[in-house]
């Protein structure tokens, strides 16, 4: 892999850009691999990368039914933060946030990490108390967050109307080191670096069955033939239930569509990320100038990648009260992603009832921020066969044991 650098740009400028290589290989699938990962979203690709990088396992295929990064990873609103409530969550989200800080250099790929600060608005008394609690939990966890007064909120985001009347701003939880990153670039960066380490990324190939013998996984059936493997990682977000059915177990997961939209591009007007969970809306401005707006999740299971119209209407109606200047903006695009929701709004990482088969799912509306940490943890778990320290609390067995990691407040509706 030829390194990307300022020098490379200069060099290519002098030879009509004829020397750029393909970012990743497109190999024919082999008949067998040591490890097969299903799903080339951020989590699957990061898992493959860390398996190769941290654990020296390079005989890996990542199998993707569409194009890499085309699932939720390429559909999300890219908010990165680690101010969750429970210690287990803080550990893995903060690990991920830390890795994001150095990820462009690590992958030699500009993922455009922008720690511009994430502001979670409290618009009801209940929410304000919830955020005070998280702020204090964060202090103990070593995650730097602070509470802002309405006046401080206004000075950071002058376009905000803080007086309501329906949704007044009573305060906010602020994580200065949170922010955003370029979602496609995260998938592309991991894909390029993993491919360079020998990982085969097989796109346009759907896994249609999982084969097993004596309680142990033996491989997968795909639209391009059977592939055998010693270890299997299921990392398919909204399709986790479908893959679990193939493997012969059920998950505490329900899939729903979560939607987002972007406005037409305008001049820079907001330089932080604002989340308003009471009204199910959040907003940031992309480098192109579009306002990126996240909405609510549908109220019933579905696999549509579209979302109900009334949810987007509710989100926009409420956001207009808080950000009056957006009322005349046109919507440029709207879309949905199929998110995998657990009851406690925390992910599932670890072993499954099928031997040799591991799963990473349940990130629901909020797993972009965790991609590096989650890939790191699942890779360690798959390499040793036993849950790694970061992953252990998130095992599937926690439901049977009643050991929930309740993040329904910190996760808000949206992430």
């Amino acid at each position: 892999m030829r390194k990307y650098s300022a020098f490379a740009i200069a060099r290519e400028a002098f030879r009509h850009h004829s020397g750029w290589q393909r970012a990743w290989r497109s190999p024919e699938p082999k008949k067998s691999y040591q490890v097969v990962i299903v799903g080339a979203g951020g989590h699957g690709l990061a898992t493959a990368y860390y398996l190769a990088k941290n654990h020296g396992i390079r005989d890996i295929a990542v199998i993707e039914k569409g194009w890499l990064g085309g699932g939720n990873t390429g559909r999300n609103t890219t908010i990165i933060r680690s101010n969750y409530l429970q210690d287990e969550s803080a550990a893995i989200y903060e690990k991920a946030r830390g890795l994001y800080e150095g990820l462009s250099a690590e992958l030699n790929y500009n993922i455009m990490f922008s720690p511009r600060g994430v502001m979670m608005l409290a618009q009801t008394e209940h929410e304000l108390r919830g955020y005070h609690r998280i702020n204090q939990a964060n202090a103990i966890q070593g995650v730097a967050t602070e509470m802002l007064t309405p006046e401080q909120v206004k000075s950071k985001v002058p376009i905000m109307e803080i007086n309501g009347p329906r949704y007044p701003v009573l305060g906010a939880l602020w994580q200065a080191r949170g922010g955003t990153a370029r979602h496609d670039a995260v998938a592309w960066g991991y894909a390029r670096a993993a491919s360079d380490l020998g990982v085969d990324i097989i796109q346009q190939t759907e896994v249609t069955g999982i084969t097993q013998s004596g309680g142990q996984v033996t491989g997968v059936q795909t639209t391009r033939g059977d592939i055998s493997c010693k270890k299997l990682g299921i990392v398919v977000a909204g399709h986790s239930g479908v893959l679990a059915e193939m493997a012969g177990f059920r998950l505490p997961i329900e899939s729903v569509s979560l939607q987002a939209l972007v406005s037409e591009p305008i001049k820079p007007c907001i330089d932080v990320v604002v989340m308003a969970n009471t009204v199910h809306g959040y907003l940031s401005q992309s480098d192109k100038g579009e306002l990126v707006i996240g909405g609510g999740a549908d109220g019933y299971n579905n696999y549509t990648q579209r979302g109900s119209f009334h949810h987007v209407e509710e989100t926009v109606r409420a956001l207009i009260e808080t950000f009056p200047i957006i009322s005349r903006l046109k919507q440029l695009r709207q879309w949905g992603g199929i998110v995998d929701m657990t009851g406690d709004r925390s992910p599932i990482i670890g072993k499954t009832p099928l031997g040799g088969c591991f799963i990473n799912c349940g990130w629901g509306t909020g797993g972009f921020k965790s991609i590096p940490g989650s890939g790191w943890a699942l890779a360690a778990t798959m390499a040793s066969g036993e849950p790694d320290e970061l992953a252990a609390p998130f095992g599937l067995e926690r439901f049977a044991e009643g050991r929930f990691i309740d993040e329904s407040v910190a996760a808000g509706v949206a992430h």
Binding site: H239, R250, S255, G299, N301, Y303, T304, H310
Partner: protein, 107 residues
């Protein structure tokens, strides 16, 4: 936007008049059941990429709970029916099979 018909009061309305209540026909396991059965009842869901049988409540209408058969991919509604049944009635199964001959119910 889903359009549902409440089998109790007969009103057809948009989804905003109703509230989804998740998977229908769960067998309630309680005292005396095994831990596995109880866990499955509480947490494990079929979540199929296909036909779902689910509970709905006519919240802004008669207030009653009922059941619906729907495709989670196309959002086509195959019918709604009484909540006082342990499994989908024959008429619903027939209307699903008419359009999806290959469909098999997941047990």
């Amino acid at each position: 936007m889903l359009l549902l018909t409440c089998p109790y009061c007969g009103v057809s309305a948009e989804e905003t008049e109703f509230h989804g209540g998740g998977e229908a026909h769960l067998k309630r396991h309680a005292d005396g059941s095994s831990d596995d059965a109880f866990t499955a009842y509480l947490f494990e869901r079929k979540n199929p990429k296909g036909i779902v049988f689910e509970r709905w409540r006519h919240v802004y209408g008669c207030g009653k709970w009922f059941h619906a058969a729907r495709c989670a991919v196309t959002l086509e509604v195959f019918g709604t029916y009484s909540a006082q049944t342990l499994k989908p009635p024959k008429s619903i199964i027939t209307s699903i099979k008419a359009k999806r001959p290959d469909w098999e119910e997941i047990s």
